[in-house]
C-alpha cells in the first residue's frame, strides 16, 4: 500500500526488467479491446434504420430519430423509473442486510454454528434465478404457502394474488435479491472483519467497551473502505440488476411497474426486430450507469474516503 509515490522515469532497463509483466498486461489489453471496445462499433445502429438484410454498412442513417422515439414514448419513461426504483431498492436492501448479517455472524462465538449458518446462507446464491423465481411464484400464488398461512392465521379473509397488484412487485424483487444474495455478499465483509487487528478489540475491552461499542467503533470503521468500494461498484450495476426477476415474474397486469430497460430492449430490439431502437435504449442505459458511477465516485472522493479512480 504505502509504496513511494515518486515518479520513476521509464527507462529501457526498467522496461526490460518488467518484460513479462508487460507482455501479460498486453494480452489483457488486447482482450479488452476485442471484447469490450470493438463491439461498441455496433452502437452505430442506434443512428441508423438497421435491417439485418442491409447490414451495418448499407442501412439508412436516421440521426437521432430513434432517441426521439424513446423519449416521446411514455412507456420508456416508465421503464426508466422502474429500473431505477428496483435497482435502488435492491441495492439498499441487499447492501444493508449483507453488512448487518456479516457483523451478526461475526459475533457468533461457536465456530461450528458460524460455519453452518454461513454455508446455509450463501447456498441460495448458487441457484439460478429461474429456480428462485419458480419458488417465489409458487409460494406467492393464490393457493401458495404464503396465502395459506395468512388465511390460516386469519390475517387475510381470502387469498390475494400477489402478482396481480402493482404495489407488491418492487418489494418482492428486493426481497428475492436479499434472500438469494445476503449470505454470499456477507462473505467479503466477513473477510474484511477478520483482517481487523484483534489488539483493537482487546484495547476496547480494557477500556470497558461492550459488544455494541466494539461494533460501532471498531468493526464498522474497520470495514469502511470495503463498504465504500463495493458501494461504488454496485451503484454502477444498479441498472443491470433488473432483468431476470421482472422477466420471469412480470405479467401483463403489472407491466407498468415491472418492465425495465432491459425488457424494453428485448421487446423492441428482438421481438419487434427494431435493433436500432433496442441499441438506442441500451446506449442510454450505459450512459446513465457511467454517470451514476462518476457521481458516486466523486461523492466518495469529496468525503475523503476510498474511491475507485
Amino acid at each position: 500500500m504505502a509504496k513511494s509515490n515518486k515518479k520513476q522515469a521509464i527507462t529501457m532497463k526498467e522496461i526490460k526488467r518488467q518484460k513479462f509483466l508487460l507482455i501479460w498486461s498486453a494480452v489483457f489489453v488486447i482482450y479488452g479491446i476485442i471484447f469490450y471496445y470493438v463491439p461498441l462499433g455496433g452502437w452505430i445502429m442506434a443512428f441508423q434504420h438497421y435491417k439485418p438484410k442491409t447490414g451495418l454498412l448499407h442501412s439508412k442513417f436516421v440521426g437521432l430519430d430513434k432517441f426521439k422515439f424513446l423519449f416521446y414514448d411514455d412507456v420508456f419513461l416508465k421503464v426508466i423509473r422502474n429500473t431505477l426504483a428496483m435497482g435502488i431498492l435492491t441495492l439498499v436492501a441487499t447492501f444493508i442486510m449483507a453488512i448487518a448479517f456479516a457483523i451478526l455472524l461475526n459475533e457468533v462465538k461457536s465456530m461450528f454454528a458460524k460455519k453452518a449458518i454461513q454455508t446455509i446462507s450463501y447456498l441460495p446464491h448458487f441457484l439460478s434465478w429461474i429456480i428462485v423465481c419458480g419458488i417465489l411464484h409458487d409460494a406467492l400464488s393464490g393457493s401458495g404457502i404464503v396465502n395459506e398461512v395468512l388465511v390460516g392465521l386469519h390475517i387475510l379473509k381470502t387469498p390475494i394474488n400477489f402478482f396481480a397488484h402493482p404495489g407488491y412487485f418492487w418489494p418482492i424483487v428486493a426481497f428475492a435479491n436479499v434472500w438469494k444474495e445476503t449470505g454470499w455478499n456477507a462473505i467479503i465483509y466477513l473477510a474484511a472483519i477478520t483482517s481487523i487487528d484483534p489488539c483493537l478489540y482487546e484495547a476496547a475491552s480494557i477500556d470497558g467497551g461492550g459488544r455494541w461499542a466494539k461494533i460501532r467503533h471498531i468493526t464498522l470503521p474497520g470495514i469502511r473502505p470495503t463498504i465504500m468500494i463495493l458501494l461504488i461498484m454496485n451503484i454502477g450495476n444498479v441498472l443491470n440488476t433488473s432483468f431476470e426477476i421482472p422477466y420471469l415474474l412480470g405479467n401483463g397486469l403489472i407491466k407498468s411497474v415491472s418492465d425495465t430497460i432491459d425488457i424494453y430492449v428485448l421487446t423492441w430490439g428482438i421481438s419487434q426486430s427494431d435493433y436500432s431502437l433496442g441499441t438506442a435504449a441500451g446506449i442510454f442505459k450505459s450512459i446513465v450507469s457511467i454517470v451514476l458511477i462518476l457521481i458516486a465516485n466523486s461523492v466518495a472522493k469529496r468525503s475523503g474516503g476510498e474511491r475507485l479512480f
Partner: protein
C-alpha cells in the same frame, strides 16, 4: 442399449411394412441415406423421444427425419428474434406470428421455382390461394399447414372459439338453453353454490381466463363474437358499409367486461386469471376443477381431453361443450367457421441454411403422401388402428387409451404437427384424414356424458351445439392474417403493438377493479392514447385491397 434401441426400431419398421397393404412395401432408404433436419416451431409443444418409432418408419420410407424444437418460456417473437440475431437457422421453421421478421431478414428460400415440381405441396392451395402467400417482393416463402380440407369436410369438432362449459354442469342444470352471458354465468354460479368442491376436495374454479402473451385473446376478443361477427381476430368487418369496426370500443365490449367484473367480485372468476401462464392454465383445466372458460378448441382440447381420458374424468362429465353466446337473445352468431381459414401470415418455411433445398421440398411433399399421412395421424396399422372389411379405419378402446398417453405419444406417435397436413376425407375416399374427424371414431370415443348432452340438445357433433350461421367465408377473411404480419415499420403497426400492450395491462385490471366505471374510463383513455386510428386506417386499406382483389 444402442443395439436394443436399434433392434426395436427395426422390428417396428419391419412389422409395419409387413402389415401395410398396397403401394410402398420395401424400405427405400438405409440408415446412412436418411437426411436429418431440425425445425423450430414458435409454439410450445412436446418433444419426441429419440428413436420415436413412427418417426423412424417415416424416415426409412421417405429418407428424412426432423428434430422438432419447440418454444419454451419465450414469446414467439422473442424466440424468432433471437434466432435472427444469432444468424444460425434450422432448416425448417414455423415462426408463428413472427414470419414477417424472417422475411425481412431475408433468410427464407422462395418457393416459386420449386413448387411446381412437388404435386402434393402444390395441391394444398389453388393458384389464387398461393398468390395470397406472396410477399411484397412477389415471392412465396411459406405455406400455412392448417385449415386445409381435402374432399368433403368431416369436421366433428368445433375447432374455433367458444364459451365452454363442462358437460356435467349442463346435466346438473337439466340441459337449459344458454344463449347469453348472463344465462351462462347464472348456471355456473348455481352449480358452484351446490358443488363448491370436487369429490377429492379440490376447490372448484367456476370460470378462468388466460391472459398470457398472444393467448390473451381468451379474454380479449369475445366482444366480436358476442356481437355476432366471425373470427376476423383483430377487427370487425361491417359488410354492409365495408367498414372496419374496432370491437374494443363497441358498447358490447363494455357490457362484457362489466359482467366479468361483477363475476370477479362475486368470487366466480379465478383470482389467478390475470397472472397465470399457459402451462398453469392447462394444468388447472386438466384437474377437472374449472367449470368454464372462453377459448379456442385447439388451445386446450388436445392436451386436456387426453388427460381427462387417462384420469377417467371424461366419464365424470368434465369434457367441455361449446356454447355460442351472443349479446342479445335470438341474435345470430358466427363462432364456428364452416369453410377453411387461410391464414397467410404464418406457415412452414425453408431457410437459407438448408444445404439441399430440393430434398427438403421433397420431404415436405412426401409427408402429404396418403400412406405417410396415415402414419402421422393414425399411426401404425394393426398397432394403433385396425381396418374393417369395408376399408374403414377404427380403434379399439385400448388403442384409444394408448394414443392418449403422453409417454406413448413421445415414444411412438409422430404427427409432425406443424408440417403440411390435410383435414377432411382421405384419398381412399372412405376414411377421414385424421382420427378426430372420423365420424365413427368420434362417436365411439365420445364419453357417455357428452353423448347424453349432445342428445339432449339434439346435436350430432360439436358444431351443432353452437348454431352458427352456415355461410361461406368472405373473401377478405380472416383480417387477422394482416394484423398478425404487421411490423413496427408502419405507424399502424406501432399503434397495433401499443394497443396490445395497453390491453394486456388494462383488461385484467378492469375485471379486477373495485370501481368498474372509473377503471373503464381510465382504460379507454390509455387505449385512445395509442393512436388506434392509425391501425384501423391500415386495416381499412387492406380490407379494400382484399375486396378489390377478390372482385377481379
Amino acid at each position: 442399449m444402442k443395439f436394443r434401441k436399434y433392434f426395436v426400431t427395426l422390428m417396428a419398421a419391419a412389422m409395419a411394412t409387413g402389415m401395410l397393404t398396397g403401394a410402398v412395401s420395401a424400405e427405400e432408404y438405409s440408415d446412412d441415406q436418411i437426411k436429418d433436419y431440425t425445425m423450430f416451431i414458435a409454439m410450445p409443444g412436446s418433444e419426441k423421444n429419440d428413436g420415436n418409432e413412427v418417426k423412424e418408419i417415416i424416415a426409412h420410407k421417405i429418407g428424412g427425419r426432423v428434430k422438432e424444437i419447440w418454444l419454451t418460456g419465450q414469446t414467439d417473437a422473442e424466440a424468432v428474434g433471437t434466432i435472427i440475431a444469432s444468424g444460425e437457422y434450422p432448416e425448417f421453421i414455423n415462426g408463428g406470428d413472427a414470419m414477417a421478421a424472417l422475411y425481412d431478414a431475408d433468410v427464407l428460400v422462395a418457393w416459386d421455382d420449386y413448387i411446381d415440381n412437388y404435386p402434393n405441396l402444390k395441391e394444398m392451395y389453388t393458384d389464387k390461394e398461393w398468390d395470397m402467400f406472396r410477399q411484397e417482393d412477389g415471392h412465396i416463402y411459406w405455406a400455412n399447414v392448417f385449415g386445409n380440407t381435402y374432399g368433403m369436410s368431416k369436421a366433428t369438432t368445433h375447432n374455433d372459439e367458444a364459451f365452454w362449459i363442462q358437460a356435467k354442469v349442463l346435466e346438473w342444470a337439466g340441459y337449459p338453453q344458454i344463449e347469453t352471458l348472463d344465462e351462462y354465468f347464472d348456471v355456473l354460479e348455481k352449480y358452484y353454490e351446490a358443488n363448491p368442491t370436487l369429490e377429492d376436495g379440490t376447490k372448484v374454479i367456476p370460470y378462468t381466463m388466460l391472459c398470457e402473451d398472444w393467448r390473451y385473446f381468451c379474454i380479449e376478443n369475445a366482444p366480436e363474437f358476442l356481437a355476432g361477427y366471425p373470427n376476423d381476430g383483430s377487427v370487425i368487418v361491417d359488410k354492409e358499409n365495408m367498414q372496419i369496426v374496432d370491437y374494443n370500443t363497441i358498447p358490447i365490449a363494455e357490457t362484457y367486461f362489466r359482467k366479468l367484473n361483477e363475476e370477479y367480485s362475486k368470487g366466480i372468476i379465478d383470482i389467478e386469471f390475470g397472472t397465470q401462464t399457459y402451462d398453469e392454465y392447462i394444468a388447472k383445466l386438466s384437474t377437472g376443477a374449472v367449470l368454464g372458460m372462453c377459448d379456442q378448441w385447439w388451445d386446450f382440447a388436445y392436451t386436456v381431453n387426453d388427460v381427462f381420458k387417462q384420469q377417467g374424468l371424461d366419464i365424470a362429465g368434465c369434457n367441455y361443450v361449446p356454447l355460442g353466446l351472443v349479446a342479445e337473445k335470438g341474435q345470430e352468431n358466427r363462432w364456428h367457421t364452416y369453410g377453411d381459414t387461410l391464414n397467410n401470415s404464418s406457415g412452414v418455411a425453408i431457410t437459407t441454411s438448408c444445404d439441399d433445398v430440393e430434398a427438403a421440398f421433397q420431404f415436405l411433399n412426401d409427408l402429404l403422401d396418403q400412406e405417410i399421412h396415415d402414419l402421422r395421424f393414425w399411426g401404425v396399422e394393426g398397432v394403433d388402428y385396425l381396418v374393417d372389411e369395408n376399408g374403414l379405419y377404427y380403434r379399439t378402446p385400448e388403442m384409444r387409451m394408448q394414443v392418449a398417453d403422453n409417454e406413448y405419444k413421445a415414444s411412438h406417435m409422430c404427427d409432425y404437427s406443424y408440417m403440411p397436413q390435410w383435414g377432411g376425407t382421405s384419398k381412399d375416399g372412405i376414411n377421414a384424414m385424421t382420427p378426430t374427424e372420423q365420424t365413427s371414431e368420434f362417436f365411439e370415443g365420445l364419453a357417455e356424458p357428452l353423448v347424453k348432452c349432445f342428445e339432449a340438445y339434439g346435436a350430432g357433433n360439436y358444431p351443432d351445439m353452437i348454431h352458427s350461421v352456415v355461410e361461406e367465408n368472405a373473401p377478405w377473411f380472416p383480417m387477422y392474417s394482416f394484423s398478425n404480419a404487421m411490423t413496427t415499420e408502419t405507424e399502424g403497426g406501432v399503434a397495433w403493438t401499443k394497443m396490445g400492450e395497453v390491453k394486456h395491462e388494462w383488461l385484467p385490471k378492469v375485471v379486477m377493479s373495485d370501481d368498474f366505471d372509473t377503471t373503464w374510463a381510465e382504460y379507454m383513455e390509455a387505449y385512445n392514447a395509442t393512436n388506434p386510428e392509425a391501425f384501423l386506417a391500415e386495416m381499412q386499406e387492406e380490407l379494400e385491397r382484399r375486396a378489390a382483389a377478390a372482385a377481379e
